[in-house]
């Protein structure tokens, strides 16, 4: 097996693709506001519906339903673990940092201190056709926060 494929499909990604933390989608019954977003990648049919609950400027809940490739599903799972309980502004900064790495075509290494397990997706940036897969849940979260207007 070439290093390219193993860089892309790191074990942590394969594991999260099955574990799917944050799935299924649940009603948000906590305090504060809730926002939801549906994202579809028309190229491959990858799909996610994500719901975010925000109270007092903190992301209190992320749940989602999705169907798609290992990269897109693992990314949603890792994202859920990473952002729950973080201040909204930090979440936005994380999404921006993740996007910057993924769009870098391999030029920017992910900072594991900042992105945690999501740094495992660095390899995706060398496969431009897969960047959308990895970004799907992150865009859905961004849109959910906008929708929550919080």
């Amino acid at each position: 097996m070439s290093t390219g494929l193993e860089q892309l499909y790191q074990q942590i990604i394969l594991d999260h693709a099955k574990a799917r933390h944050g799935s299924p989608l649940r009603e948000y019954d906590g305090a504060g506001r809730v926002g939801e977003s549906h994202q579809l990648n028309p190229v491959c049919g990858d799909e996610i519906t994500l719901r975010a609950g925000v109270a007092d400027g903190t992301l209190t809940s992320v749940t989602w339903d999705g169907a798609g490739c290992a990269i897109s599903m693992a990314s949603a799972s890792v994202l859920t673990d990473l952002v729950q309980g973080l201040p909204r502004d930090e979440v936005i900064a994380l999404v921006d940092a993740f996007r910057e790495v993924l769009r870098s075509r391999g030029r920017i290494e992910a900072d594991e201190e900042v992105l945690g397990d999501a740094a495992a997706f660095s390899g995706v940036s060398r496969f431009p056709a897969r960047v959308k897969c990895a970004m799907l849940a992150w865009v859905a979260l961004e849109e959910s926060l906008l929708a929550a207007n919080a």
Partner: protein
Amino acid sequence: MPVVETPVTLTPSDAGLTDAEVHRIRNDFPILGTEVNGKPLVYLDSGATSQNPVSVMEAEQEFYEQRNAAVHRGAHTLAVEATDAYEDARAAVARFIGARTDELVWTSNATEGINLVAYAMSNAAAGRGGDAARRFAVGPGDTLVVTEMEHHANLIPWQELAARTGAELRFLPVDDDGALRLEEAAAVITPATKLVAFSHASNVLGTINPVAEIVRLAQSVGALTLLDACQSVPHLPVDVKDLDVDFLVFSGHKMLGPTGIGALYGRAELLNAMPPFLTGGSMITTVTMERAEYLPSPNRFEAGTQRISQAVALGAAANYLAETGMSRVEAWESALGARLVEGLGAIPGIRVLGPRAGVPRIGLAAFDVDGVHAHDVGQFLDDRGIAVRVGHHCAQPLHRRFGLTATTRASTYLYTTTDEVDAFLEAVAHVRPFFGAN
């Protein structure tokens, strides 16, 4: 030296290409000798776009180096030579499908050919073309019929035509083995039907549809027929007069030609009665500030400067295929299709769409891998230098009908070897273990 050579007479033969011939053919395709990800390229995506032989690329280059000029205008020598090359190519492609030269309209691709007919019908519905065009007019109470296995290109133009005119769009359903449910055809194709548009061979299922039977049903109610021949003209002998369809479309880039060129065949009497779609220069006789008279087919449908070099190259592609012999290409690919289906069927967790092993299919197979998304399957294969198509293959309703959103498709051509099919099958067997799918 003529730009387009006269094709040699086809030798009727049931025998397919031999291994040795296929290896010789491969030498004509430089890209097939390249490497991808450090592995020899195994190109199994010809259903999406085929590769070009040297003769096709040379025809295009030769045109630009020696004959480039606007066609059908200008009296200088180059303009005459360019026009000859352009019209010779039309004759070659028309001959390739058994059409008259004036029945072959150049389009950008098959999609444009279908849209041309749909918009011409729309224009007829708006009263354009007068009495002669009335048979193309559709409106409330009329139906347009497609099938559940259509590529979006042969679905959406009809959805739009229906929406513009008030006609109703109906479809022939597909059974579990990927065949049209013809027993329901009598209820779908009725005297209200004005057009039946369907594919000759499915780009997903590999199914070869019973054209004669559907044409007979359509003709019995006076409906026009349009055949999407994108997956048949490149791969098997097609004669439009034998098929007896009214319209037929195909794309150049799927038959060893360049992108940006395709063709619409139509019966001459229909094309000459049909209002134009795109209008402008080169398609007129007399123009005043108020109105215009139009040329007969094919020029009537070729407004503006055309895809000249692409047409010339497509002529060379048709000649390449004719010289090779389409019945032999068909037999070779049919064997590859059977090898794909049998091989995939023997791998645990693989579900092949379309006709079962032993039932005729063109040389492609789309399949689902249990527990692994098609995108991941394609990535795994790409790492081994194997190029396949993943996704819905522009057939979302068909995938939905089989409870899927995406599949992986391997599609062959005359240059595909049995070794490549076997390398692909061997790789697919490793997909589920790699992703831990059980």
